[in-house]
Structure formats: C-alpha cells, structure tokens
C-alpha cells in the first residue's frame, strides 16, 4: 500500500518528446489503469515510476519520499513486463523464486547447497509461497519447465506469478494479459481483481484492452501523445469523456460521431433532426455529437426523432448484432447495436430507422473538448448529461 505521486514528469528520447509534464496522484490501495493507443507513452511512464528510466524533469514520490535517486531494485515495486522478460535459463519455479531469494534471504542463505541447509524453514516457506501463487495462476504442473517450453499464454502467467509472489509496495503491470485467449483473460481478470482486494496493494496497470481497463480499475487514466487526457473512474470516463479523443478511444465499437450544428439559440441539429437539449449559444457553429452504438435503437418507422440510413453491413457477434448504416453523403456511418432477434429480418441494402436515443448524446466543440461539460467531475456527472 503506497501512494505514488508523479509531478511534472517529462521525458524525451532524443528529439521526440514522449511525456509532457505528467502529473499523477495514485492513491494508496487503488487500482489505477493507464490506457491509450500504442506508442502514447504508457510503458515509458510506468518505467519511470519503476525507476528503470530517468525522467528529464519532474519528481517521483512514493509514500511522500522522493525516489528519483533511488534505484529500481530498492524501490520495492513488482513489475510485470510487456515482453514477459523471464530468465530463459531458470525453471518456472526458479523464475518465481528469484525476487524472493534476493529480497528475503541473506547472501549466506542464498548459497547453492549450503543455503537451503542453513535456513531450511525459510526456504520452505518461500517454496510454499511460490506454489501457492502457481496454484492461483494454474501453472502448477509447469513449475519445473523452462520458459522455452511454455506457450505464450503460460509464459505470461509465469511473468505475473513472479510479480505476485512478492509483497511489494505496489504492483506495476504492463499489459499482463495481452497474450491470453479470451477465456483465460476473463479468468485472470477476476484473479487479479481478487488479488487486489485481498492485498489492498496499489496497482498501476497498463493496457490497451478497454474491457480490462473498464472492469478492473478504481480509476483509469486515458493517455494520448504523452498527455493524460482524463483521469477518472471507468464509468465516468465512459459516460462523460472530457475530450472527443477519449470518447473515441473508449468503447467498442467506437462511438458514433455525427456532425451537428448549434444555432444562435443553442439548439442542436444533427442528421436532419433537432435535439431537445440545448447548449450555451456561445457554441454556435459546428459541433460534434457522440452517440454510443448501444444507446441507439431500431425504430419501426420514420419520425421526427429518428435517423434514417441504409444498412451496409451486419456484423453478427452471436450475442449482439452491429448494424452499419450509411446516413447521407457527408455525415458518414452510424453503427447501431441490436439484439440478434430484433434484426433477424434485416438485410444489407434495407432502409432502417434508428429510434430516439435510449441513452445520452455527448457534444464536443470544434476543439474536441466537451461542450456544456466544463467543470465535469465524476460525481457531478448527472448534471451534465443531455438527453436528446
């Protein structure tokens, strides 16, 4: 359990600036997720936190103590690497044992043969810890194999195990589940969540899988191009993105962004319909309207509050059906989520009406910032919701 504070961290590799004055406060015991597109600087930030990379400017504090000058090995953090980084010459058990041996045993107790004899009890307890962790991760039968004999998913679990086996002040995880197949990923998600609630240790978790970010985190930080665009609870970020880029990044399929227009009264028109909700007249002009696919619904027929489109593609995921609609020349496509049975009769080329929105529309100004959402906080979210 540790609070971690990053102040005005910036980092450049040569001429390319990777992090721009990042400020981040991670509370003790929270599960903080860093999400963002590939190359946005997530791993770099994590590595600075770990002490593996030195920031150009800024300060890293753990539990209030500035650790800029403390080396990685002494910060007592555990890290799972994006590339596993297992010791290829050691067995799985030895890989997992390594951090324990190095931290919990004196050099005398680490001696090859004499060590286990000298401190039999200690060694035994370490072995027990390793076995317990292996049990959780379902890699018990693999303990005596070397990494080269494992499949990608198994390796990733060993990498996780090597971190989990310790009791560090915080866990840093860099896409630890990216190589697992769907079923295993869901399983590991719940194991990690459980680990977090059991230990109460601070987690800093990097991912580009939204499902992970949304389901596991206490708070998530959406990064893009070296900046943190938004830092909030997952729900708040999903429902009240402060920036059009956040809205587009979070949510699958992507949020529908339609070009809208604000008249001098603050009335909003989009795709031929006028919305009930108004915004301040200061936003006169072009505006972007974000509509999430699951908040749209098929309508039986045309009305003032429906959008009309042509079905160009149906994507059937079994549980859901995504309908891709073309709506007018310069407006673009609209994706609508439907239940398979609702849309069983529709074929490509059919005319479709999309009904009055079940959920909320989100507005963004020309600069990409949320409109009418200034000062939005996750708890003050409702006030800013607009029902079309």
């Amino acid at each position: 359990m540790a609070t971690i504070t990053l102040t005005r961290i910036s980092k450049s590799f040569g001429a390319t600036r990777v992090l721009n004055d990042i400020d981040l406060d991670i509370q003790a015991g929270e599960f903080l997720t860093l999400v963002g597109p590939s190359g946005c600087g997530k791993s770099t930030l994590l590595r600075i936190l770990a002490g593996l990379e030195e920031p150009n400017t800024g300060e890293v504090r753990i539990d209030g103590r500035t650790v800029n000058a403390v080396r990685a090995a002494d910060r007592n953090l555990a890290m799972v690497f994006q590339s596993y980084a297992l010791y290829p010459h050691l067995t799985v058990a030895e890989n997992m044992m390594t951090p324990l041996r190095l931290r919990d045993l004196s050099w005398r107790e680490r001696l090859p043969v004499a060590g286990p004899l000298l401190a039999r009890a200690k060694h035994k307890s370490l072995r027990a810890q390793v076995e317990e962790t292996a049990r959780i991760l379902e890699i018990e039968p693999l303990l005596q194999r070397k990494p080269g004999q494992l499949s990608g998913g198994q390796r990733q679990r060993v990498a996780l195990g090597r971190a989990m086996v310790r009791k560090p002040v915080a866990f840093l995880m860099d896409e630890p589940l990216s190589n697992l197949d769907a079923a295993l990923r869901v399983h590991m998600r719940s194991e990690l969540a459980e680990l977090h609630s059991d230990l109460g240790t601070t987690f800093v978790y990097v991912t580009h899988d939204q499902a992970e970010a949304l389901t596991m985190s206490t708070r998530m930080a959406v990064m893009m191009d070296g900046d943190i665009l938004q830092l909030d609870s997952p729900q708040a970020i999903y429902e009240n993105p402060s920036d059009i880029r956040v809205a587009q990044f979070i949510g699958s399929p992507k949020i529908n962004i339609l070009p809208g227009d604000v008249d001098s009264d603050g009335r909003i028109s989009v795709a031929g319909m006028t919305l009930a909700r108004r915004v301040s007249a200061a936003n006169r002009g072009a505006i972007s309207v974000g509509l999430r696919p699951e908040n749209l619904k098929l309508a039986k027929g045309s009305s003032a509050e429906t959008i009309e489109g042509t079905l160009v593609y149906r994507e059937n995921l079994g549980s859901d059906l995504y309908l891709h609609l073309a709506i007018g020349e310069n407006i673009g496509r609209l994706i609508v989520r439907a239940a398979p049975h609702e849309a069983s009769g529709l074929n490509v080329g059919d005319q479709v009406f999309v009904e009055r929105l079940r959920g909320e529309a989100i507005f963004f100004g020309a600069d990409g910032k949320r409109v009418g959402a200034a000062g939005l906080k996750s708890n003050g979210a409702d006030a800013a919701r607009a029902v079309a």
């Binding site: 593996l52 090995a73 980084a85």
Partner: protein, 315 residues
C-alpha cells in the same frame, strides 16, 4: 519471438528433412563434398598420428604405412648413456609415447597448461564480461570512446608488444612464474568484442526485470547475462582455450628459467635439434597428446555451443 517460432524452428527442420528424403541423391552429393573436404583436412592428422607410431627411419624415409612395422630399433639416448646396445632396443610406438611422457615431464606440462589456460579464461571472463555488459547495455559518458579503444586494441599484435611487456613483467619480478604466463592475457579485447556483440541481442526488458527483482548490476551480469550468453561464452572459451593451450610464442619468451613451468607446446621443443635432427617420433606423440584434451573438450562443448539457449523467455 513467440513460442510459435521456437517450435517452428523444429518444424522447419523436419520439413527440410522431407525435402531431403525426396532428394536423397542430393544428400549423397553433399556427403561426397564433405568427405573430400574431410580427407584434406584430416591429412596432416593422419600423418601426425602415423608418425607418432613410427620409428625414426620410417619417418624419414616415409615407409611403413599407417602404423609402421613396429620393428624394434636402437635408442641412441640409451646407448649414449653407456648401456649396451642390445638393452636399448625399443619398439617405436612404445618408445615414442614413453619418451613423450618420460623425457619431457609432459604430465606436468599438461597440468601447467590446464592451470594456465583455465586461469586465463577465468580472469578474461571476469574482466571482459562486465566491460562488455557496460558497453552493450549501460549508457554512460565515454562509452563510444572505450568501445573504439577495444576495437583498436583488437588490432594490436602480441608479437609487437612482447618485448615491452616482457620488460615490464621482469621489472615486477614476475618472469618465470605462472603469473607471467597469465597476466598479459588477462585482458581479452576479442572477448569484450564478442560478448558485447552478443549482449546487444539480449532484450533490455530482461535486465530491467532483474533490476525489479532486486538484483544489483553486478548480480545481473553473473546471474542473467552470463547464463543467457552461454553460446557466445562457449565460442569465446574455444577461442581462448585453443589459443592459450597451443600458445608457443609467449611461454617461450617468458619462461626462461624453470622447465617446471612449461606449457604443453613447449614440450615439443624437447625434441628439437633443428638442422642437427629433430626427434620426430616423440614429437608427434607429444603433439597428439596435446591436442587430445582439446578434442574431447570440443566434443563436449559442441552440442551446447551450436544449439545455445534461445532467448525464449521473451515474447
């Protein structure tokens, strides 16, 4: 790299084999080429082994086939010591090998060779590995300069610096000692170069992981870099051991006093008479004996050397 590539490596081999099966005449051709090459390569070894079996006159007149007739001949050395000629008749193969071991204390030389070669290799690794690591994986001011220095030193021939070195050693009073045989080789720029090239291929994440696990830089070298660098290390070991086991030039310069400190190749000089006639039989026996440990070591090392450890702990 995913595990898929690792297994694919194996798979491709098997599919290659299938092609080979289809083209077994091609396989035969390959063997033919390789066998011809092997014969040329082996020719001197055949001669060496054969001479180590033969009597002096068989050697000089090149008769007697592979192993000679093994007819007893008179051992001059024995005669000269005042023994009767009849008591001095010896069988060539026995004479050659017993002389190799007896006249020159070859066992002692072999022991010296082992001690010296092992110490050299050990110290070289001890010194080269950290340096190679620092050159490959740490960022510091002056790194490029030091690496250039390594490249430059790679070009320096030992023969050019032998005399200054000898004088430096003698000023320290170190000539005629194991130290003199070892000290000049403690630094292997070849080793630094080779290991650096290899370390460059070790992923940074592996090192970072070790740091997170609580290893200091020193532990990283020996517990992470060394084990992953086994193939390169073996290549270097072969290079270093072969060079120093067979080194004739330096020990000859530096060991002028005590024969007890001779290394195996110096054993060869016991049979040198130059224009007044070398004693080839025991010389070849000695040469055969000297090369044997290396062959054995190579056979042991070869499996691991060629296969090595792929960095399969990584993605």
């Amino acid at each position: 790299m995913s595990d898929a590539t690792a297994t694919a490596a194996v798979r491709e081999r098997s599919s290659d084999d299938q092609f080979v099966l289809r083209w077994s005449s091609r396989e035969a051709l390959k063997h033919a080429v390789l066998i011809v090459g092997a014969l040329i390569v082996l020719l001197p070894f055949y001669v060496m082994l054969s001479y180590s079996f033969k009597s002096p006159s068989e050697i000089m007149t090149n008769t007697g086939g592979l192993i000679g007739l093994q007819e007893p001949f008179r051992d001059d050395y024995c005669v000269k010591l005042g023994n009767a000629a009849e008591d001095c008749m010896v069988t060539p193969v026995i004479y050659n090998y017993t002389t190799a071991f007896g006249k020159a204390p070859l066992l002692r030389y072999l022991f010296n060779g082992a001690v010296v070669t092992a110490s050299i290799f050990f110290i070289q690794v001890l010194i080269a590995l950290p340096c190679a690591y620092a050159l490959a994986k740490l960022k510091w001011w002056g790194r490029e300069f030091v690496f250039s220095m390594v490249l430059f030193c790679l070009l320096i021939p030992v023969h050019a610096i032998a005399l200054p070195l000898y004088i430096m050693l003698s000023k320290l009073g170190l000539t005629n000692s194991y130290a003199a045989l070892v000290i000049p080789w403690t630094i292997s720029v070849f080793g630094i170069f080779l290991m650096r090239q290899f370390f460059m291929t070790v992923p940074d994440d592996l090192i970072d992981a070790a740091r997170m696990d609580g290893m200091n830089e020193f532990a990283i070298i020996w517990k992470v870099m060394l084990p992953t660098a086994v193939p390169a290390l073996l290549a270097f070991a072969i290079f270093s051991v072969v060079a120093h086991w067979n080194d004739y030039f330096w020990p000859r310069i530096v060991i002028t006093g005590n024969r007890e400190l001779f290394t195996p190749p110096l054993g060869l000089r016991e049979f040198k008479g130059d224009a007044d006639g070398d004693n080839f039989g025991p010389m070849m026996a000695t040469a055969t004996i000297i090369v044997t440990p290396l062959i054995v070591a190579f056979l042991i090392a070869q499996r691991r050397f060629i296969e090595g450890i792929t960095l399969s702990g990584m993605k």
